[in-house]
Amino acid sequence: MAIVVQLINRAGAVIATQKFDKDHIVLGRALDCDVILQDPHVEARHMAVEVDAASQRLSGRDLSTLNGTWRMEQNPRGVPGRRKTRFFDSPFFSGQVFELGRTHIRICSAVHQVAPAMPMSRWESLGHALAHWWIYSLLVVLLIVLQIWDSYLSNPESNKLSQYALSALYPILAAVAYAGLWGFIGKNIRHDAKFPTHLSAALGAVLAVSAFEYIAPYWAFQFGLWQWQGTITALFSAITVFALGVVTLSMATHLAGMVRTAVALVVPVVLLIPTLLGVLGQPDFQPLPPYDRSMVEPVMQFRAVTDADEFLEAADQLYVEFHEDSASTSGEKK
């Protein structure tokens, strides 16, 4: 014979649980209450709860309060919704959520069924690994080095190195802000901020995108993919953002499966829309010649070298294709 009271937030997450081994308790602000609530809208003695020793059935009573006691409607998983009805004096089922002033509490009997244990997520171990201080420190250093090097290559003036270093802090500050935001969300939803894990994940994602953009001209040159460089880079960025989204949502929320995937897809899809529009909306007529625009320094070149004769022969072949095209066009007209 016991009464269990849980303080919950508006998302239904439990903030605190107290168990009373007696059949009658009072909730309110008064210091002689069993459950003392820090809510100015709650009466000194607000609500009384009783449990029947034989049947374990719960009943409650509003103690003539100014703001009333409200029974919240709940979904099957026990999360309170927006609709509520005034509660005066009646029995209720174990697990019922009440609103007292602005405070939400769930009241259960001691025999209330709890959900089965959740299996440990594989994200847990990943989150644990990413939380080491040396991991995010290493990522910060790598990111700063890459950003400075990249800025220097774009504008090779050594006297601007301090300026480049300062601008390299922007992505790091963005990662810190990201980790702070999701840490706050995670703290509220899962009671676990995981700030270092979010920071490492965000830094890792920024580093991956920056590194991929940095090496893009090299593979574009070696494999003749310069026309696809922008699309492939955008695709890689979108995939990275999606992966970061899945990791973040797994660690900061209870979302899982298709819902988690769908939410994680929102930002990457928005990022990809301009690229998709560019690819799909390409006009048939291109006034500019699509000549190879890729170029890398001599030590990074591994493409086969040809001589003038082979080049002229390949140039000659272009006309053969045009003759075949015009022959097939005139054939169609007939």
């Binding site: 048939d284 007529f285 000549y291 272009l318 006309y319």
Partner: protein, 431 residues
């Protein structure tokens, strides 16, 4: 030549007065020629509105001579546009008989020739003297038929296609009108203006040739096929002239490039040394000023080649090549063409190694050759070449050319020679 004279003998009986007599004044010339001079209106069929205006004049065989660019709408889209003139207060409809697209001339015929046509214009048989007074006739800005006095200043220097330099005000709407000497003989046909009393005329000899040719057109004459042949013939001749020219190699930074090959190319150059970044840029290039008008969106016959040199002693190689990638990414063809005129470019890209015959040094560059075929002017192409060296640590040279309206053989002959030009010069270059 005999045939040309025969044409004159046939037409001389009906030619406009003012034969070998005293030179006339402007008012006499105008009153004598006014009736044989027309405003040419290009009408759009569906709206019934005029879309272009020009001038024209009556020549041998009761044909009307004008500029090709005045009637280009009708030549390229005969179902959409038609030609109209006013003759003795009656509207007359005309058709295009033939054109000389290279010299921007067209000959028109009356769809229903009227019985009482005015006298035809006589063509001059002698070249005027420099400074001789000419009168240009036409209808500028739809203001009414006008006569403008000016001077003959000979042929424009350094052009492959002959154009007379006329020092007088030729304005929009006068295109296709005649410029006559004081004996009322046509010396040239108004074609273009550079403003400030600098006008250009097509020499009358081009009209003579077109008149001669128009008498023996084949039954199945197709004006657009003929235009393609005309452009191909002249660009072939240009290419023969280029390949026969002296391909003098000149120094540009550490590289060797091609200098001015023929005198009808305009060549230019510039260089800049940036003290802060310690980079040296040199640009040089040549192009022909001869542009063949096909339509408002389509010009051809344009040739150009350009070289660009970049060197930076201090930059690291990856930084230099990032800059070089940007510098060589924006090349575009030198002529304009639209979707109805040409197909898309197709390119071949290679890493090409050539050797300087003088010092045996090799030069490695990314070379791209792109071709697009003409749609209506069959057998012609625009070709585009872009080369950018990539074998030196922090210096590079770009070589580029555009040849528009060329035949396959002309383009290939030029390419074969051009790819061998650029080389590293003898000064020691550290790889």
């Amino acid at each position: 030549m005999i045939f040309i004279l025969l044409v004159y003998s046939l037409v001389s009986s009906a030619a406009v007065a003012q034969t070998d007599e005293e030179p006339a004044s402007a008012d006499t010339i105008f009153s004598n020629l006014e009736n044989s001079l027309f405003q040419i209106r290009i009408m759009e069929e569906k709206s019934g509105s005029q879309v272009a205006l020009g001038s024209g004049f009556l020549v041998a065989g009761n044909r009307v001579a004008t500029n090709y660019h005045v009637v280009s709408f009708v030549v390229l889209e005969p179902d959409k546009y038609r030609i109209e003139i006013d003759l003795q207060d009656l509207k007359q409809s005309l058709s295009v008989l033939t054109v000389d697209v290279v010299n921007d001339l067209a000959l028109l015929t009356f769809d229903s020739p009227p019985d009482d046509l005015p006298a035809i214009f006589r063509l001059a048989e002698r070249i005027p003297k420099k400074g001789e007074v000419l009168y240009s006739l036409g209808n500028p800005h739809d203001l009414g038929m006008t006569i403008v006095a000016g001077n003959y200043n000979g042929l424009v220097d350094n052009k492959f296609l002959d154009r007379i330099h006329f020092s007088g005000a030729i304005n929009s709407g006068m295109s296709g009108g005649p410029s006559v000497n004081r004996r009322s003989e046509v010396v040239g046909i108004n074609v273009a203006s550079a403003g400030n009393q600098v006008g250009f005329l097509v020499p009358v000899t081009a009209l003579e040739r077109l008149l001669t040719r128009s008498d023996s057109l084949p039954e199945d004459y197709d004006v657009r096929l003929d235009m393609g042949r005309q452009i191909g013939t002249v660009t072939d001749a240009m290419m023969d002239s280029i390949l026969a020219g002296e391909w003098k190699r000149e120094e540009m930074g550490e590289a060797v490039i091609l200098g001015e090959v023929v005198d009808w190319f305009d060549c230019w150059g510039n260089s800049d040394f940036d003290k802060e970044t310690r980079t040296l840029e040199i640009a040089r290039g040549c192009n022909n000023a001869d542009n063949i008008f096909v339509s408002d969106q389509f010009n051809t016959g344009f040739f150009e080649y350009e070289f660009y040199y970049l060197e930076s002693e201090d930059w690291l190689s990856p930084a230099f090549y990032r800059q070089w990638r940007t510098s060589t990414a924006g090349a575009r063809p030198g002529n304009n063409a639209g979707e109805d005129d040409v197909g898309n470019y197709t390119c071949v890209d290679r890493i090409l190694e050539t050797r300087n015959p003088d010092n045996d040094k090799t030069l490695r560059r990314r070379a791209s050759y792109c071709v697009r075929p003409y749609k209506q002017l069959k057998g012609l192409y625009d070709v585009f070449f872009m080369g950018a060296t990539l074998d030196q640590k922090n210096r590079a040279v770009m070589d580029h050319f555009t040849m528009s309206g060329v035949t396959q053989s002309a383009a290939e002959r030029f390419l074969a020679r051009f790819v061998e030009v650029v080389a590293w010069r003898d000064k020691e270059v550290m790889p």
